[in-house]
């Protein structure tokens, strides 16, 4: 077995969710690692878009932000937020968007705004939505990356910054959202997906070193673990490309 660290397993697992030829809306951190790795392995024709204005970057160096000059490398077009949000994201041209946050609930709703019962007087304030709410509303599907801790996976998030399946069932459609919704959640302990009818999160796989039961115990809502298997480990090739090509400076791999 090849040695790897948890962030490498998460980056590889995220990369494998991207299909060749897809248009990918990537954010800073693990999503960038996943998108770059996918482009350099099984999905060479995937198109990486950053909300700050670049389309189809061929990244040579890992950006520190979606507005980084590094995002200009090899880009097919560069414009601004209005162009990307209106003509690309809102128009339905983004196949997959990445999201993260401080809290995620069992329907994949995400909070990246604040902790506490009253958002006007928060106990802890975060950066805010940025483009996350827009991606959650308007991408064809989303991949969520998260730390797996009980308090970060509550029954209900304190604030829905980015709508997932809302209350489950067809509530997302009823709210007026015409497409999208979360397809997968990659955490530090496993991979979760959503039941087709109820839209409730279930454990699809647990990472090596964990058990399905242990993952459920570290989750703040009842997590269905029926049929969960072990997450496939990274291949030697994926690890080499990730370490040598994608993030040699180990900006996010730590």
């Amino acid at each position: 077995m090849t040695d790897y660290i948890l962030t490498e397993l998460m980056a590889v697992t995220a990369a494998r969710q991207i299909k060749d030829g897809e248009i990918v809306f990537a954010g800073t951190g693990l999503p960038m690692l996943g998108a770059m790795l996918a482009q350099r392995t099984h999905a060479p024709q995937c198109c990486i878009i950053f909300q700050a204005g670049t389309v189809a970057s061929q990244l040579a160096h890992l950006p520190m932000s979606v507005g980084d000059p590094r995002a200009m490398r090899g880009a097919a077009t560069a414009a601004g937020l209005a162009e990307v949000f209106s003509y690309v994201l809102q128009a339905g041209r983004v196949d997959v968007g990445f999201l993260g946050g401080a809290q995620i609930d069992r329907f994949g709703n995400i909070n990246s705004t604040s902790i506490g019962p009253d958002p006007r007087h928060p106990q802890v304030r975060f950066s805010g939505s940025g483009g996350a709410c827009d991606i959650a509303c308007l991408a064809q599907r989303t991949i969520i990356i998260a730390l797996h801790e009980k308090r970060r996976l509550p029954e209900r998030v304190d604030y829905i910054t980015s709508p997932g399946w809302l209350e489950g069932g067809d509530s997302r459609r009823r709210a007026g959202l015409i497409r999208g919704g979360p397809s997968v959640v990659v955490t530090t302990k496993g991979v979760m997906r959503f039941r087709l009818d109820t839209k409730e999160m279930y454990l699809a796989s647990y990472h090596p070193g964990f058990t399905a039961r242990a993952v459920a115990e570290d989750t703040g809502f009842a997590l269905d673990i029926e049929g969960a298997t072990e997450t496939p480990v990274p291949t030697a090739d994926e690890l080499r490309i990730l370490r040598e090509g994608v993030d040699p400076e180990r900006v996010f791999l730590k």
Partner: protein, 322 residues
Amino acid sequence: MSKLIELAEAAALVPDGATISFGGFTTQRHPMAFVYELIRLKRRGLYLFGHSPGGDWDILIGAGCVKRVELAYEADEAFNTIGPRWRLAVQRGEIEWEDYSNFAMVSRFAAGAMGIPFMPIRSLLGSDVLACETLTAEQRAADPRTSPKKLHVMESPFDPNDRVVLVPAIHTEFAVLHVQKATSNGIVRVEGQTFADVQQALCAGTVIVTAEEIVAEQVLRREPERNLIPYFAVKHVCHVPFGAHPYAVFNYYDYDPRHLRLYHDGAEDDEKFHQYLQRFVFGVKCHAEYLEGIGGKARLDSLRADPGYGYRPDLKRRRLDG
């Protein structure tokens, strides 16, 4: 007609309480030299509008210059995923704010720029960005520059089953952009991502542009399709090399990871933050002195962009002491 004025002169045009937006996005092209001038002038009660600002807002908020903000995000992304002074100001109840998303804010600037009262978008439905308001009705009513309503959900008049969110137009008194090149009469060239600089400029009463280089008109008139906004929309132009430090300017210089670490290592602590302000803002008289203070020519040369990339490919962003 020349619109060239000195940076200090331009900053002095902004009165206490003004509404203002700054160009750039998280880690690139913020008019930082202008921001430092506003802090030196001890401006108070500023009302900021933005999509994804970073340290430009954070230091202004920390220095006590800001009363109210409308925004989507405030942080330096991978350099710090939260703006430390923004967080403290919210948690201490020292600032008034309203949350939107990036698409909502950019659409609001665009509506203002086009002279229409609102823009319909398909985002926000089902979210608490739509359901929650942080500004009270009294706060909204007390300042006519704040929209009387945060957002409005509407069925399409052409299809009752199609729902959109109307976002209110923004008109600020000032917009300040930092760009690569400008002419003395206000033709503006941005290289790389344009962010929302176009919309922010065109919804503002007074546009001030700070530029890395002032170039001859014939240079920018050669490729007019690359020029950002009509020159008549620009009121003042300032020549400010390294005017976005510690943030990047595509084709000119990279961000400064050492300086960003210096800021973020201390910014959560009141005393250390005020030491930073004293050392880099109040303790220097002008931008030239600031640039000496952050390490002078040696530091600036180490950040200059490689022309083949538009940034510094060998720049270390982590483990800076190794």
